[in-house]
Amino acid sequence: MIRPFITLAGFIALWWAMAAYGGVPPYMLPSPQAVGAALWTQREYLATNAGVTLAEIAIGLTGGTILGALAALGVAASPVLQRWLLPVLVLSQAIPVFALAPLMVLWLGFGLTSKVAMAMLVIFFPVTANFLDGLRRTEAGWLDLARTMNAKPLYVLLRLRLPAALPALGSGLRVAAAVAPIGAILGEWVGASSGLGYVMLNANARIQPDLMFAALVVLMAIAIGLYVAVDKTLRRLLRWAPGS
């Protein structure tokens, strides 16, 4: 229980050393003290905006996971879908945010929807790709068994391949949990007036490194919390799989 705090202390010490002696000027890397001060004085502002980002992360992660899982199941269920959907999924990952942002706003407006959509776009792919890989890697013996049982493809997918692929889905979820915060930040790119991403972009544009890093610290706390929560949950749920 005490270890995270040692890590944290070490981290801050390193940061402090880098800021103080590393030749990194404060406008690039403000000192921990300055950031701590910003954290304290701007706590309400940060808390409000963190709430917004948290909501985006929560919705984005849930939506992205559901979407990614469905996409993987769809692709796994039907070779036709695979042929058509998979390239689109891959392509979706290659579109830079500034190409997509105007279209998102055009279709979804400036509200939460467009932000969540962007976040989901970032989150869903690791889920899809990993889950799909898992679905494809079903033990051949089980599939043979299912064949002799006259199994229906749908049930084979849902009751055999799906549970067998859960550890792979878990890997995807872990990656998704780690990229979810950046997904939400990218979502705020489409035009926001609140959220940690907005705070950071704003502070960055107005050269307020201490505020920017304060927001970054909050974001990272969210990221670590999220990852740990997802990791713990997965280990609990997948106790039958080795190494969990």
Binding site: A192, N202, I207
Partner: protein, 294 residues
Amino acid sequence: ASAQSFTLILDWFINPDHAPLFAAKYCGAFARAGLDVKLIAPTDPDVPPRLVAAGQADACLSYQPQLYLLVDQGLPLRRTGTLIDKPLNTLTALKQSGITKLADLKGRKIGYSVAGVETVLIGTMLKSVGLQLSDVTLVNVNFNLVTALQSREVDAVIGTFRTYEDIQLAQAGLEPVIFAPEDYGVPQADELILLSAESKLKAPALAGFLGALREGVAALEAEPEKMLALFLKDNPSLNDKLDIASWHALPPYFARDPAALDAARYTKYRDFMRAAGLIKKDLPLSAYAVQITA
């Protein structure tokens, strides 16, 4: 009757450049005009005009050079107002790097944020002192102009504002050497203008908005400190030395009559853009700028 909603997309994050808009709100001008004005800050200054053209908002803030590019590409947009009617943009170097006159930039690195027209601006400015674009190295430093300059990654940057970054550099104890484009062969331009979609030019809300904005400028001039206090209350994260200094430096640059159109200035700048090859068409004034009368 309930107030009519009017959405304005800003050019960038909320900053003291937008003071007249806030002043118009604080002095009740928007309410008197029957408008419920919503301000939205984008993260990318290139996006707002497209959204306005697509009907997602009633107006947006943009820059005069940008206007020509937009209209040349066929976007149904018009300049309908002016927020800042003098250039703010500068080419800035640091005295510390031994640059005192523009010609000293020969062989140096110049940083910029991609906005489309930088190369032409720099080229024009260099030409006025007998240099060419090939005499310098251009580096895209994206949104980190000041940092790039401070860390000496580049020797000069273009795109800094005399009412913001140049103040900031001075506050950081550096000695900025400032070159204004209009002193080196670039025509005068409005820095911050208001764009609306062609289809919404006749909307009474727009005229009302411009009228209210004019009241805002006057209110700001009358009670700058009171307006500043309200502004900082609304935007507590702007409560710092730099933004307050900027707030005080800006008033001379605001357009007294936002609706007024300086036709000669717009035509001259169009010729400049055309000569530089940035636009392909000989756009008539009415194709890109109008004066709205209430």
